[in-house]
């Protein structure tokens, strides 16, 4: 298990190096996608399936957008006769997906019933029972956000920080160029 984790971590590092060093934009985007999917598998291994699902969704969205941004010619025309096999395969895969979804939906607790009433020693019950004793905070939500899961909150704050740095860097460059042009016009 630990060995597999290390293999995926080295895969992530290798893909990140490829993304930094490759001269082609499309290769860099695909290598970044490999980093993201590797990270989501690592999250599955360390017992964080919710973050893994979020990472996969974000990764797919970002990959589509960045490939769309990097590809110059994206007009793809498929020539040839209409394939009946493709339709049958698509319907079959869709049907299998629906069957799995139905099986999972039967396992779900009824609507409105909390998971912590069904599972012994569930984390949510632990948070509600122990947050006051262990953290001294009256608000259990804040106790989870800033004590039990403070590392996640730090990650969220870092995301905002990085986003505003990127936005300012992107927007400020044009302003400096405008200012330079304006100063030259004034002089």
């Amino acid at each position: 298990m630990i060995t597999t984790l290390y293999i995926f971590i080295f895969f992530i590092i290798a893909a990140a190096l490829v993304a930094v060093e490759t001269p082609h934009a499309l290769s860099a985007v695909i290598a970044l996608g490999a980093v993201g999917f590797g990270l989501s598998i690592v999250c599955l291994f360390i017992g964080a399936p919710d973050i893994a699902i979020t990472l996969v969704v974000v990764e797919i969205l970002v990959l589509i957008h960045m490939i769309r941004a990097t590809l110059q010619r994206d007009i793809i025309t498929i020539m040839g006769p209409f394939s009946r096999l493709n339709v049958i395969a698509t319907m079959l895969i869709f049907g299998i997906g629906v069957a799995f979804f139905y099986q999972v939906a039967l396992q779900l607790p009824p609507f409105g019933q909390a998971v912590m009433t069904l599972i012994e020693n569930s984390p949510s019950r632990f948070y509600l029972e122990e947050s006051l004793n262990q953290t001294g905070a009256a608000s259990a939500i804040t106790a989870v956000l800033l004590d039990f899961r403070a590392y996640d909150t730090l990650g969220e704050a870092t995301v905002i920080f990085t986003a505003i740095i990127g936005a300012l860097a992107l927007l400020r460059r044009t302003v400096k160029r405008e200012r330079k042009g304006k100063g030259a016009g004034d002089a």
């Binding site: 006051l132 953290t135 001294g136 905070a137 009256a138 608000s139 939500i141 804040t142 106790a143 956000l145 800033l146 004590d147 403070a150 590392y151 909150t153 730090l154 704050a157 870092t158 905002i160 920080f161 505003i164 936005a167 300012l168 927007l171 400020r172 044009t174 302003v175 405008e178 200012r179 042009g181 304006k182 016009g185």
Partner: protein, 154 residues
């Protein structure tokens, strides 16, 4: 004497009346995040909305004399650093990153303002960060575009 910057006199007077309660409400949400619903994120958003109201009503020049965008950048970085420093002190004192070392040493009374250890400090850090971040986002999207439009005219 009416100034040319900003909106009309009515908007300025209403903003003058409303802005201080907005700032106080933002501070309240940030400081009592460990007692009631609230916390650094909503408090920071309310605080940034107060600044944006002042900027919209009074125009950029007069508002930026109080809070220049460079200062907002410093508050942003300062909030992030405060969060990190609290986490690192926790890892030095208690052995875990973001360990609640104040609560372990001096447990406060529950439902009092000075309780829950590091949580109010982290809330203040997050509030500073979020307020400065959102203020800078709005300023980046409006001010820089205005500068670009002026450059396009000349």
């Amino acid at each position: 004497m009416p100034e040319k910057e900003g909106m009309s006199l009515i908007v300025k007077e209403v903003a003058r009346l409303i802005a201080p309660p907005i700032f106080i409400f933002g501070l309240y949400l940030t400081l009592t995040g460990h007692l009631t619903p609230g916390g650094g994120f909503p408090g920071g958003v309310v605080f940034a909305c107060g600044f944006i109201l002042v900027v919209l009503a009074y125009g950029g020049k007069r508002a930026f004399r109080r809070l220049p965008p460079e200062g907002a950048s410093k508050y942003d970085s300062g909030g992030a650093l405060l969060f990190l420093v609290i986490g690192l002190i926790g890892s030095l004192v208690g052995g875990h990153f973001l360990y609640n070392f104040i609560q372990a040493a001096l447990p406060g009374t529950v439902f009092h303002l000075l309780s829950a250890g590091t949580m109010p400090l982290i809330n203040i850090a997050i509030g500073m960060k979020v307020a400065a971040c959102l203020f800078m986002v709005v300023m980046a999207l409006t001010l820089f575009r205005l500068a670009g439009e002026k450059g396009g005219e000349s």
